[in-house]
């Protein structure tokens, strides 16, 4: 006999803030996979197969910033520093920072249980997240 599923559909669980952030974590993860795949395919189209090794391609995939291919055999950085890649990098910074900071809050919640403590963690996390997003995007567009 097939085991009966112990899970509830989303419609019966209700969509409160915690549930919303649970969903955001999954969706931002999917967005990151799509952006990383886009960057890796782009790298291969731009000649990575003959100019970069696997580790360099993965490094570019995790963050498509032209400084990440400086130490490879890529002869011209111009195609790697177009607005398209800066936009892709900016999108990756936004979703990765949101995903990562929420993950840090989830870990902190396992060890900090007082409402005041959790409030402080949330405030610091929001400030940290906005700062990292701003600095990250600034670097991408000025490097």
């Amino acid at each position: 006999m097939a085991e009966k599923s112990k899970t509830l559909p989303l419609s019966k669980r209700g969509l409160n803030f915690e549930m919303f952030m649970w969903l955001v974590t999954r969706l931002t993860a999917l967005a990151m996979y799509a952006l990383i795949l886009f960057a890796i395919i782009g790298a291969l189209v731009m000649g990575a197969r003959n100019q970069m090794n696997l580790a360099d391609v993965l490094r570019w995939g995790f963050m498509p910033n032209s400084t990440h291919v400086q130490s490879t055999d890529v002869p011209d950085l111009a195609p790697w520093s177009t607005s398209l890649w800066r936009l892709a990098g900016s999108a990756l910074v936004l979703v990765a920072t949101a995903h990562g900071v929420h993950g840090l809050v989830a870990i902190a919640d396992d060890y900090i249980v007082s409402p005041r403590g959790r409030g402080i963690v949330r405030f610091i996390s929001i400030v940290f997240m906005l700062a990292m997003m701003g600095i990250g995007i600034y670097i991408l567009w000025t490097s």
């Binding site: 999954r26 990151m32 580790a55 995790f62 840090l104 249980v113 600095i135």
Partner: protein, 124 residues
């Protein structure tokens, strides 16, 4: 109200969560590792100067790259397994098999990345 656990550290370390528990722990370690790395990397790029160069020298070290690649690849591949199982809950009955598939995907990719990093570091 403080945090109160009813299990000692020794008991916690003997917890028989097996494969899924191991991935849970490694996912957190990988996530924390990447959070520290990315934060320092962004700040080093922003600050520049001697501090930036010092931190970049650490990032370019092969041993550090092996560690960061473990964090990034394991977190990404384990996260994909979590996302698939969470978005398709009927697959949760195959959790342990999914963890084995995850290792089967992670080990060759990470192994190849480590091989490339080491051969490059050794001048191969």
């Amino acid at each position: 109200m403080g945090l109160k656990r009813n299990v000692s550290l020794a008991t916690a370390l003997r917890y028989k969560g097996q494969g899924p528990m191991l991935t849970f722990v490694l996912h957190r370690i990988g996530g924390l590792g990447m959070a520290v790395f990315v934060t320092l990397h962004i700040l080093a790029s922003f600050v520049g100067g001697d501090i930036g160069q010092f931190l970049n020298a650490i990032y370019e070290n092969w041993a550090f790259q092996i560690l960061v690649f473990f964090c990034a690849l394991f977190h990404a591949i384990n996260g994909l397994r979590i996302t698939i199982l969470d978005l398709f809950p009927k697959l949760l009955v195959h959790l342990r098999e999914a963890v084995w598939v995850e290792w089967a995907v992670f080990i060759p990719i990470y192994g190849l990345a480590v091989f490339v990093i080491l051969t490059t570091a050794l001048g191969g």
